[in-house]
Symmetry: C2
Subunit: 301 residues, 2 copies
């Protein structure tokens, strides 16, 4: 194993932290722990995972994905509603101090997109959107073969595009995609319609078993997804959309209604112009992208 090619990736979620050691584009080892919800315990947990993966050898560079955004200017964390104790914390420097190696921090959906670009459904596709349908809905943009973060570092907020329904979103606005089509919102929506489904997996199972109500609900959800994808198509002329997170296995139930709306709204394109793909790296995408980012940063340093 070429040690110059080794990096650690850490993917922080609201409930679990997943981490992996990557070399030669392959995952050598995976570890996981619950997400602590105060800062000191959180930093300890991340440092502990990194040391566990390094197994007593010298630490390679570390990349960290978080459900929030590091400010381009100073790396302090902006907008991490699920981990409020991180707000304003310069996470990269704090971890570098504990670990003594370079640490790169980025948004989790950005890093999942980057992981898919390098080794997943985005390979060979220089321009695509990754949308992660989980508790919330995140997005990462790969444009011209590079991760696009935007001038303020907040690009890719796919989940808050307006799609024309009336539900209130956690962000304070009405009609966001996330307020109807996140895994959590879909489960709530299913309950409102009297469907016996505790979560998105059960809802999908009902639909696959032929339940008319479940099929109809997922058809409407797919159309709403299409509304948001159309905005991306109009603005950026993207043709490739990769769906990740817990919603990825349900894509076959959403694809057709999404495509119908996409073709209607993003005029000038045909159905054949679009690819709606399932993400390929699953839970590995985030830490894979994080490790790749750490390695690129190291290579540039």
């Amino acid at each position: 194993m070429d040690p110059s090619d080794l990096a650690l990736g850490i993917d922080v979620g609201g409930t679990a932290i997943k981490a992996g050691a990557i070399s030669g584009g392959r995952v050598l080892q995976r570890v996981e722990t619950a997400t602590p919800h105060d800062l000191e315990a959180f930093l300890d947990a991340l440092a502990g995972l990194a040391r566990e993966l390094a197994g007593g050898t010298a630490l390679p560079p570390v990349g960290v994905g978080i459900p929030g955004f590091p400010a381009p200017a100073d790396g302090s964390i902006l907008g991490a509603p699920n981990l409020p104790f991180l707000q304003g914390v310069p996470l990269g420097p704090a971890l570098e101090e504990r670990l003594g190696v370079p640490v790169r921090v980025d948004n989790d959906a950005n890093l999942a997109a980057w992981g898919e670009a390098l080794r997943g459904a985005g390979r060979g596709r220089p321009d695509f959107l990754l949308a992660t349908i989980g508790t919330g809905i995140g997005g990462g943009l790969v444009l011209d073969g590079r991760l696009y973060r935007g001038p303020g570092g907040l690009a890719g907020e796919f989940g808050h595009l307006p799609v024309g329904h009336d539900r209130l979103c956690g962000c304070g606005a009405r009609g966001c995609l996330e307020a109807a089509v996140s895994a959590r919102s879909l489960a709530a929506w299913a309950r409102e319609e009297g469907l016996e489904a505790a979560d998105l997996r059960e809802l999908a199972a009902l639909a696959r078993a032929g339940n008319g109500g479940a099929r109809d609900l997922l058809r409407r959800a797919g159309a709403l997804l299409g509304e948001a994808l159309a905005q991306v198509a109009l603005l950026l002329d993207l043709r490739v959309f990769v769906i990740g997170g817990g919603g990825a296995p349900v894509l076959d139930l959403l694809r057709e209604p999404a495509l119908q709306v996409l073709v209607l709204r993003a005029f000038g394109r045909e159905r054949e112009d679009f690819e709606l793909l399932q993400a390929e790296l699953g839970n590995d995408a985030g830490f894979f992208g994080a490790a790749a980012l750490a390695l690129e940063a190291g290579a540039r340093a």
Copy 2:
């Protein structure tokens, strides 16, 4: 005058063609003619304008902006609804054959954005959207200091973002920004509300004179503009929006309601994060950007 720095720009509109000779970042000369609506007369008109600007000296490189999109693969024109005779025509090669110099063709809103980036409201701003509010609504994206055209060349279709009203758009969908907030749509909307305004200029004059109905209509139009800008802010994290075309002089009447919606929908940003600017180059932006493109192409060749 350094002849290596001279270029001609031609900006093709549905009714008029504007052209200029540019050197050292300044407009040396402007000419204009009506737009012919068949292909041979059209090519003759463009060639005539170029020769008129060159004034008997050797032709410099030529850039052309059109209300349509050249396909990245072969330069044939896609989607030019106002100049249907251009559909499928490889305009660049056709003009190169007539003129004997390199000709670059791009979308008119792209080139206006590029003009504003180089010499107008976008100077020193590496990431912005130019929205042209004219008969229709066009858009051009400058990202990371470069014109972003998208993988299929159709990026920047700002006018067809959905903003939550029920009007039918020429593209076949409902609720597009253009169907309510283009200069033509605003004039129609004003007539529906019984306002005595033949066009956007008269509508703005009514509002400035204190007419409550005109003020209210432009407030609602500003809010719809804000809905579309919010989508751009969420997806790309853009903070700078430049408004050009006939709508530019009305921006002061649209800004406040647009900002209110923008801040509500693009959560995590403050009002101070955004700049809504009036385009500075007016009718020159398109041919200025076209000439700059021709010069860059020449420099690279």
